[in-house]
Amino acid sequence: MTLTGIAARNIGRNKLRTTITVIVVAVSTLFFIMLRTVVWSWTSASEFAKKDRIATRHKVSFVMQLPKRYAEEIAQMPGVTAVSYANWFGGKDPRDENDFFATIATDPASLLKVYPEIKTPEAQKEAWLSDRRGALIGDALAKKKGWKVGDKITLAGSIYPGNWDFNVSGIYTTTTTNVDRSTVWFHWDYLNESLPERRKDMVGWIVSNISDPGASGRISKEVDAKFEERDLQTITMSEAALNQSFLGMFSAILKAIDLVSVVMIAIMGLIVGNTIAMGVRERTNEYGVLRAIGFLPKHVAQFVLGEALVIGIVGGLLGLALGYPFVNFGVGRFLEENMGQMFPQFRVQPQIAALAFGLALLLAVVSAILPARRAAKLQVVESLRRVG
């Protein structure tokens, strides 16, 4: 029997209140882990980018297009080993227009060279390359939609209006998490031949492989210099830099998520503090007895802080136990499959779990300092008069 052991038993006296408090700590820990994982995953996305890939787009905006011939010219430049190009199609499933997934028109053969991490069985690859209406679909999206090889699907175009029919030529998986598994890739030619003359032969962006990852800065500058005197100028950057520039647009959101995670933990602390304070009020008489039989104010404080510590430990561990499967196999799996470029790896990091658990303990104890001080300062005679 120890003082902390008795404190642990004390918290079981009001089971409902303790259970609710432990749940609050657990849920706060879980959400802290999740929000911090969002920030970590997002900010570390650039680390997962391929170092030997650079992307070229219109200098002004993502939404403005470049002539396809730029891709052919870049392919001729020294240090560039492969080039592909793509257009954002903006297609939707007419059965469920709110269900977002990427639909991109590309040159299939060059795409598979530039993105070697996209894997599909050889027969499916050949089928896709030879069918102008063929589509290569990420396995996560195919599973979600129930699409199989050989199916005929129709997508409604938003940027390019009308219903567009495709044959599902293949299902792809990826060897890395930086390419999402929920994209519909299809032939750029199929899109291009359907467009009016004034919109033909334009691409949204160009992606190039380079032989020396260390030269990405130099080659990017050379690409942009090449088109500097043309009507349409370019901006070229490494895939990592592209991800980071994209991230910059969301920096306010990341800060907000950071703030929310801290506020959540702080609220948890207040709730724990309130629970402990209620317990202290109810047990004033018992603390008086302890003091009467010789326990010191520090022992009483130890009782109170011990209760908070136990709540923090139990709630924190429960939060971790729930957080790992929830993040790694629930939200994480969904985000990796559907938003792989933004969240290439959405897994609980040990340092985030340790921080969450540490904060749960720390804030539980900190929130109990005030009630503990009050309990320790109680006058013995006054405490004994109170009936619990």
């Binding site: 029997m1 008489n285 039989i293 326990f295 104010p297």
Partner: protein, 234 residues
């Protein structure tokens, strides 16, 4: 008024000289005890009686070292309590005083034996096994060897008070202070408790100071002090 013998020639264990105790209620000063002189012999069994507000519980608190006097001096078991720090008085209480309360004040999350063991947590260098052994011995002494694993809610009022007495004697203190120990008990249970206190006094030589309203309880004491308006009634 003091009655009967006061300790068969033994030395004084409690000495109060000119003790006063005042409280402030806002700007109003309340003199609860006034210039009180009192001695109690080692091994005596003494009762404090008096009407509500007469100062008997305040006097008991001063003797037990729970509070300090506003004036005068209190010497208990060789310690001058008025000069002691809060921490020193806590140590004094742990070593010298056993408490028996009217409302038992047992910890509901602890079993009978664990409640009795509680004061022993303060004893340095005592193993868990020794603590348990001493707690069990104290419970046997009060006749509760069959209730050691019971929680307070599983015990009757009289049994709870016996556990309190076991807790009071487990550290082998010289003095037991009892504040209305039979106040919440029926007559039969009250008699049992008073018999037990009597045995602790006669067989173990404990000095017992008991506050009571009950004349029947007071009769068990060898000395009865009557207080009225903060002074001993003559």
């Amino acid at each position: 008024m003091s009655e009967s013998n006061t300790g068969n020639g033994k030395s004084d264990i409690i000495t109060l000289k000119g003790v006063g105790k005042s409280f402030w209620r806002g700007k109003e000063r309340l003199d609860v005890l006034k210039d009180l002189d009192l001695t109690m012999k080692e091994g005596s069994f003494e009762a404090l009686m008096g009407p509500s507000g007469s100062g008997k519980s305040t006097l008991l608190n001063l003797i037990a070292g729970l509070d300090v006097p506003t004036s005068g001096s209190i010497n208990v078991a060789g310690s001058e309590l008025g000069n002691m720090s809060e921490g020193d008085r806590a140590g004094f209480r742990a070593a010298n005083i056993g408490f028996v309360f009217q409302t038992y004040n047992l910890m509901p999350v602890l079993t009978a034996v664990e409640n009795v063991e509680l004061p022993l947590l303060l004893v340095k260098n005592m193993s868990a096994g020794e603590r348990r052994q001493r707690a069990e011995k104290a419970l046997k002494l009060v006749g509760l060897e069959g209730r050691m694993g019971h929680y307070p809610r599983q015990l009757s009022g009289g049994q709870e008070q016996r556990v309190t007495i076991a807790r009071a004697i487990v550290t082998d203190p010289k003095i037991i202070v009892a504040d209305e120990p039979t106040g919440d008990l029926d007559r039969e249970s009250a008699n049992d408790i008073l018999n037990l206190l009597g045995r602790l006094n006669t067989e173990l030589g404990k000095t017992i100071v008991m506050v009571t309203h009950d004349p029947a309880a007071a009769e068990r004491a060898r000395v009865t002090h009557r207080l009225d308006k903060g002074a001993l009634a003559l």
